[in-house]
Symmetry: D2
Subunit: 366 residues, 4 copies
């Protein structure tokens, strides 16, 4: 069954394997008239490029985006927008030794179970590289949201046991370090932690937080298209994500109603929430307050440290995975989280256009 | 936009408000030949009925399910299955005083923001009662899964700060206490905790764990229909759920790759995982090991303890919500979690039927 | 696979068999604020009720519609709208003799081929009665379209070889005769033709034309959601329909480009088409001119005239179908065609709301 | 709203404009293990290439297909299959003079109505060239159907008033003449008819018939996913198609039930239909007999003969369209009809895999 198409109105159809000819995405359902250029999209892509940091792989991917359709004289026409990135620097020979090996915590075994065989080069369709297509589509979604002043900000909230402290939060700092951490104090500790792990041929997990400001009210459709339900699905579809929570999340489970409920007070004629434990939604619908979410990312599975594995010939083996891989996925996933949040919110935005008969009459009045 | 339809092949379309004439669901896409009866479905519904426990509301809902179509001589025909529960015991007058009040942490305000007005009786479409329709549909899904020996078990893993201890886990105990806790020691503490909260006119949150055994391999479609992505969306669509995690979840974020990776060993010619930190999936596809997940449930918003609220006339008010409401949602949500897991897995099961050309040739060979 | 759900935004989910407990529909995605009542819907249903005419079956179906959800104080709330018609007058014993017989040109054999067994009472899910649910949903769609002055008019354009003459077209006449013909001259000949067929225990086919006036411009989405593609799908889904054409339809195949092209001329600053051979669309998108379509309806398959048939025991039999059935389906299908056109157009209307970024900015501007 | 995605399981997402950088399609949901190569697809594409016939445009399009993903070592992997054709020979300057003109019977005006502006080069997304992407996707569908011996054959059944005679039907002849006519006698008359029209700077319409042999039984889902409903939608989505009929189609409207019903007789233990007026389906489900359908194609709108048109500045103009265009669309559409039929049938094939619980148990038995 198809699993590479997402969205109800703003639909994206992604394709491509890490070691195939290229990867890309077709965006269908984008409204006409959105100003977009290859530069807009390249900017977001460049945030996820490896080879920039001592904490991500040294391989240079050179992802260069091309728009092949759906844009005319700088604006979307309403026709599908096809975008492509050609693969340039994928060394197949890195993986030939692994053709018959099942690497722990990777998709090798489950793809064989599902399809009966698999493209063994790299991780094929399961590769993290596939997310470049999502980021490209997300850039278009972000353009639409930006026109409404919606601001999506994701950052690394923890690496292993090292947690960023909200008191030290500095938004400008996020984009100025390789780990995308907003707390310089935690950053130092995280860097040391990672250096030790790299020396041990090991890897680390972490968490990513994301806030959305200025989100329009009323987004989300009871009951199955609740805002947080669709956000959860989008974020959990990112490889390596193992959990997601909204507002106080798992902490809300330990609170009482009186503690957790966000009280209302009028302030200059407008209804405000005294707190925002809910994280931006009520009954699955946005109420205009900030959306707050956090995702848990597992450690990179590919490590050189020797693991117990098996091969297809029935043998138990000791496996040390040589080659190029990230000791920590989290920083690369930050922009992917933003893209998935943007794609989900723009789809909700479009879906909400038909909530009231007044909206419809306004568009079609003569 | 429609938000009450879920599924790609096994589709459910739910309807009904807490204080309307009734509620129900249409199941479309169920294979023909499944043996199903009203008794099968009533059994699951009766688990969520209030009035049984000192820890849930005393109102008696008397949910009696009727199957109106799609079943002939005890088997599904392939036609849509319509099921209905007529509302009998909903007192509208409980809520008339709240017509112009925005209750904190409830959907009153967000529904007004979205639609411009709302059905103020109870929580309308946002009511927890709406989940009865999901449980009914889930009962059919569970029938199909049971034929493959799939076993879904959910239970309360914590109430407030009181956590069930896995060492005391006793599966038979789950169905024999009102809180659906599998640990008798924790149960006592949780009961005491709740009694104190009730005395304080307050409410509690909690968590629900769910395991799935004997799940077929190969379920889930990269990249957006990953097994855990669709499970997350289904579970997050349950009202009051604020987070969901799979396998080690948020703990995985603090582990190293060597600690988190599940190693492989052959055991009598079959590949086994030495651990199951992943919680049943790899690359979004099930590998036959147990699915493990946990959901966080916020405290019941409706409490008698006085809160700061507002009304539509621009006034700040102090609000004490009288009437009938649960001090803790978690036990009632346990069977709903099982239903949502069943619905998601059966849809994935059906979607996986077309993964390989061999499956297709087998069905159509002459 | 589910086949009883239609629509992308305004979704309908129908259910029910002719001899089951009832039939109904859930409408999901209807905008909030539409004024609707059971009377509105009953009006459309009563047009398709048999027992009114000498040319349709004498059985009295007594279809009474009930709205069970989604409407509050006379307006849609945005929640799913469930409507139900309970079956009152279906005599199962009419069909018990046919349990093991395959009636020619009916779905008996194909349902057995697909599902392995079938509900043999009447035609089960294949019954024409199922269309009552569509008409009910169509009534809501028509309410929305009426607010924009969209006018859908269908009528019988031919019965067997008897064709209505456009020169004698009288719109008021349509609703004043049992055959829904707009030409009194043709009506007389058709009635005589049918009387002869009834005397011969036979049945007739016919055609239905439908015009849509005042349709907003811009509806339809290239390439697969073209306006006429979706109309065709909706109309072809009505049982007994064997063909559909738009504008000049099959006559366009015999014309030259110069003859068929609709020329443009300005008239008081507005662009007009000199002719409307296209029938209302260009490139699959409405241009504001009238939509014109015609559907071909096959003769009623159930006839008393003796036919060659078979039974499940391997025997060739001669079959005369006693009981209650229509000698001509066409008049009953007229209101169903209107309903399907309304459902398709309202969905297109809603889908077009997101075509331009300007529409979106207008809704979300602060 | 997105309109370029088709299918429920075997989904295609097409993109590209006639004068953009290229066009292509992403196929998602194709089962793993299908043997496919660029040669397979190129073969079907080459049938629709212009420059081969005196009756289609002399432009050489040089459509060369590239597969960029989803195929590994000659077999589909289950991952999305992206295919692309780069545009080489599209002269933009042919159309610059038409930037502000609304050509009759083309999408210029309706696209402006919908989107507010348009890509004026050629017909942008409305161009017939877009169908090349469909043909490429259809080639994969045909591979799957061929494994089940399904045979789809389309041909030109009429050009203008010249009709092919079924008595002269010669299947081998179809692929050996530029007009794809199966009747050499009619072919001569059609060629003469076209030569006269070309001399008059005019164009012609026509009809295409298509038969499908060896189609598995049981395909189609009541009520909205009936086989002919989905075929109709797919075929009506081809530009220039104005009508579609199945079996006897519009002739059935003039027949009696006794004439139209297909009788049953046993023949060596198998149920046969004595006739096939129904054209392969009953109740929307295939019964194993041949599917028979016919599509009506309007004449090519672009003609050099002077027409009445308008421009955007409020002026009535006389328009003669110079440049390169087909005098008749029908032959080029023949392979597109086959592709759309293949795409629809393979999706129905896959959807039918979940009709019976037995099919599901067979796949998942251990």
């Amino acid at each position: 069954m198809s699993g590479s198409i997402l969205g109800d109105i703003f639909k994206i159809s992604t394709w491509g394997e890490s070691h195939g000819k290229g990867l890309g995405v077709v965006v269908d359902g984008c409204p006409a008239g959105v100003e977009i250029s290859e530069e807009d999209i390249q900017k977001d892509l460049d945030r996820r490029k490896p080879g920039q940091s001592p904490f991500t792989t040294p391989r240079k991917e050179g992802d260069k985006i091309e728009i092949l359709s759906g844009v005319f004289q700088g604006r979307t026409t309403g026709a599908p927008i096809s975008m492509i990135i050609f693969n340039k620097n994928q060394k197949s020979k890195d993986y030939s030794a692994l053709k018959d090996v099942y690497r722990p915590a990777q998709s090798d075994y489950s793809y064989d179970l599902k399809y009966g065989f698999r493209d063994h080069r790299g991780s094929g369709r399961a590769s993290g590289r596939e997310t470049a297509a999502r980021v490209a589509a997300g850039a278009i979604a972000r353009k639409i949201l930006a026109a409404l002043n919606v601001k999506i900000t994701a950052y690394t909230s923890s690496i292993g046991p090292i947690k960023a402290d909200p008191k030290n939060y500095n938004e400008d700092y996020i984009m100025n370090n390789f780990l995308y951490m907003p707390d310089p104090v935690a950053l130092e500790k995280a860097e040391e932690y990672l250096r030790n792990l790299i020396a041990d041929n090991n890897s680390s997990g972490g968490t990513i937080e994301c806030t959305v400001k200025n989100i329009p009210e009323g987004l989300g459709d009871p009951v199955f298209d609740k805002c947080e339900a669709l956000l959860a699905r989008a974020i959990m579809s990112i490889g390596a994500v193992k959990g997601v929570e909204f507002g106080r999340g798992f902490k809300a489970a330990e609170m009482t109603g009186y503690e957790h409920n966000d009280f209302y007070r009028y302030n200059e004629g407008e209804i405000n929430k005294v707190t925002n434990n809910a994280g931006g939604t009520l009954g699955g619908i946005t109420d205009g307050s900030d959306i707050l979410l956090k995702a848990a990312v597992k450690p990179t599975p590919s490590i050189e440290k020797t693991q117990q594995a098996v091969n297809k010939s029935g043998e138990n083996i000791d496996l040390s995975i040589h080659g190029r891989h990230d000791p920590v996925i989290v920083p690369r996933a930050v922009v992917v989280v933003e893209a998935m949040v943007a794609l989900t919110l723009v789809d909700l935005l479009l879906k909400n256009m038909t909530s009231r008969i007044e909206y419809i009459k306004n568009v079609y009045k003569k």
